[in-house]
Amino acid sequence: MADKRKKKSAGKDAVTVVVMRLYVAGRAPNSIKAIANLEAICRQHLKDGYKLEIVDVCEHPRRALDDGVLVTPSLAKLSPTPGANIIGNLGDTSSVLAALGLPTTGP
């Protein structure tokens, strides 16, 4: 699976670009779920723009170790401050939004 994926919302350089990194473990069910869940959240709630890096710890274990990753899947919000660490398959959208500091006003 692709270890890195970068996405940027088209066009404008948004005021608040959320930078995130998602650590996954290969094709583990929870990891696949997490990617799907996160992509859905980003599409719906981060229209302003976001930056997501996906790291497969099975392929880059040293990097994950250095980053202090413990369990997978695990999402780190790198900017803007305050940062956040979210573990799990990100199935609970409202708590993910709350953790990322985004308004939960969704459809």
Binding site: Y23, V24, A25, G26, A28, N30, S31, K33, A34, N37, V57, C58, P61, R62, A64, L65, G68, V69, L70, V71, T72, P73, S74, A84, N85, I86, I87, G88, N89, L90, G91, D92, S95, V96, A99
Partner: protein, 597 residues
């Protein structure tokens, strides 16, 4: 896994934890998982980490420590008291992974250990790890919401460990507060692993006592039951029952107690390697006797260990100096080592392990523990008793000649059995007591028992003076033992009587001598008389014979003379007799002698 796997002999890895490798008969199962369970502060983490440290430093087996519960820095600080050189090991053979999930982590849905295991796998390959420790797996499992998820992760972990051929230790807290699902999980975990070690910490009379128990060991036997543990400079140590072989070599070598009077009572001293219990009330000179033993051991050049409880070594030496026992020089020369421990805060088990460490370091031939009874003051009596027993067996195993004192309050006979009940194990038992009579308190010494020795049965008085100790015979009069002044009075009386008896007997002797002389003189006189009488009798007999012969001759002569010349015959008779007497004198001396006489 291959079907043949269970049939092969279980291999084990040593933990290097003193005592544990003995009770587990060789350590933990190699390439398998051991679950270490226990409440907080029971020593689980120390056990796991010490195993790792020992494997890394003694057997050069690298390992990984995953800390779920405590921060690595905290672990380093907690174990700084041990001589483990963690930071050195952490540079090459040990890898520490901080795996605390801070409260800032927000769980949104299910997660798994797949990623972490992938990271550990990479690390294992990198350092060639053979061991892995998961410290505080319960913390991780508590984040998983459903029992099914927990079980799934436990399985994942087990499969991974099996695949990676790692010898692993997983620690997990158990406390009464856990919910139902937790206990189900622990039950499952215990089933899953090959070895389970339970840790326990209980308060016994205000002192925490830690114990461990192997509750499961698949494919191996182990020593059953709970074993106390404590912490020393090298880390954790488990009090194992040690060598069960009681066939110890018995020697007939005698070791002096340093007290001639006592040696004599014991038939020459203590047997080498024997243990001697000295019991007594406070102030009955137990320590002085122990000091004498120490001094004489050092004078013989034997390494000696003096363990004093509740009193510092310096004070002990000062007090002993006041009765003429000099130990300072032996301290300086290194022959004597003193260990002092307070018994009000440390549990007895810890003392035992410290003493065991000292024995292995100092290698003493003689040893004193003063007083052992101090350990029964803290902690439960039953455990103190067990420690007393183990200590004596340990000394015996090391062939150390030991003098152990024990305080006995009061003078009642039941107390003589000693609270610690070590009197039955000790080879010799010397009882010191106070006897009160005639308004005095005097010290008395009795040998209650002495194995393999024809010892004195007497009660002796122990006299303490500036010149040291002495044993006096005691007087018993009318079944009562006399001591102190009463003894002195009795002694003086005895002395006076002895003088009188001596005078009397010398008079008698002289009388008898006189009588004897008189009798023998009389015998001599009678003998002389007897000889005189015999001589007289002989003379008489001879005269008779001579008279008879001469009368015959006379008759013949007379007849002849009458027949011829009667005058001549009369003169010849005296001439013949004179010639006869002169013959023995011979050589012409005869006439001179006759003249002198």
């Amino acid at each position: 896994m291959a079907k043949t796997a269970p049939r092969q002999v279980l291999q084990k890895n040593l933990t290097g934890i003193k005592g544990f490798d003995e009770i587990s008969l060789g350590g933990l199962p190699r390439n398998r998982t051991t679950l270490v369970m226990g409440g907080p502060g029971t020593g689980k983490s120390v056990f796991a980490l010490q195993t790792l440290v020992s494997a890394a430093s003694k057997h050069k087996q690298p390992g990984i420590f995953v800390a779920f519960e405590e921060n690595i820095d905290a672990i380093f600080a907690n174990t700084a008291a041990f001589d483990w050189r963690l930071s050195t090991l952490a540079r090459n053979r040990l890898f520490f992974m901080n795996a605390q999930l801070s409260p800032a982590f927000i769980a949104t849905g299910d997660f798994d250990l797949g990623g972490m295991l992938a990271m550990l796998e990479a690390k294992q390959l990198e350092i060639g790890a053979q061991w892995v420790v998961f410290d505080g797996i319960d913390v991780l499992l508590s984040l998983l919401r459903t029992p099914r998820a927990k079980m799934r992760e436990i399985y994942r972990l087990r499969d991974w460990l099996t695949r990676r051929e790692l010898t692993s230790v997983i620690t997990s807290k158990i406390d009464g507060g856990g919910d139902g699902t937790d206990s189900t999980n622990y039950g499952f975990m215990q089933f899953m692993v090959d070895c389970v070690v339970r840790f326990d910490r209980r308060m016994e009379q205000g002192i925490p006592v830690r114990r461990l128990e192997i509750s499961k060991y698949r494919g191996s036997s182990f020593a059953p039951g709970e074993f106390p543990l404590s912490f020393g400079p090298h880390g954790m140590a488990v009090a194992s029952p040690g060598a069960t072989d009681i066939a110890q070599e018995a020697t007939s070598e005698r070791v002096s107690t340093g007290f001639a009077g006592l040696d004599e009572m014991l038939g020459g001293g203590l047997f080498r390697g024997s243990s001697t219990l000295i019991t007594g009330a406070p102030g009955t000179s137990k320590t002085t006797l122990a000091g004498l033993f120490t001094e004489s051991a050092c004078q013989r050049g034997e390494r000696t260990l003096f363990v004093s409880f509740d009193e510092g070594g310096e004070r002990v030496r000062r007090n002993l100096k006041s009765v003429g026992i000099q130990l300072d020089a032996h301290m300086k020369s290194g022959l004597l080592q003193m260990y002092s421990g307070r018994t009000d805060s440390v549990n007895p088990e810890e003392h035992l392990i410290r003493i065991a460490t000292l024995i292995s370091q100092h290698k003493p031939r003689c040893m004193v523990i003063d007083p052992l009874s101090a350990i029964s003051r803290t902690g439960a009596l039953s455990s103190a008793r067990a420690i007393g027993n183990r200590l004596i067996y340990k000394l015996r195993d090391h062939h150390i000649t030991a003098v152990i004192t024990a305080l006995v309050e009061g003078n009642n006979a039941s107390a003589e059995a000693t609270e610690l009940q070590i009197s039955t194990i000790a080879d010799n038992w010397i009882q010191l007591s106070y006897l009160v009579c005639g308004g005095e308190r005097n010290r008395a010494l009795t040998i209650v028992k002495s194995r393999g020795t024809r010892h004195s049965n007497q009660v002796r008085e122990l006299v303490l003076s500036d010149t040291g100790l002495a044993l006096s015979d005691v007087y018993s009069s009318g079944g009562e033992v006399l001591m102190g002044t009463l003894r002195w009075e009795k002694e003086a009386e005895e002395r006076a009587r002895a003088v009188l008896r001596e005078t009397e007997s010398s008079l008698k002797r002289r009388e008898l001598q006189f009588a004897e002389a008189d009798t023998s003189a009389r015998i001599a006189a009678l003998q002389l008389d007897l000889e005189r009488q015999r001589a007289a009798l002989e003379l008489n007999t001879k005269n008779d014979a001579a008279r008879h012969v001469s009368s015959g001759e006379q008759l013949t002569e007379l007849r002849r003379l009458r027949g011829a010349n009667g005058d001549h015959a009369v003169t010849t008779l005296p001439q013949r007799r004179a010639g006869k007497t002169r013959r023995p004198g011979g050589n012409g001396h005869g006439p001179e002698r006759a003249r002198r006489g």
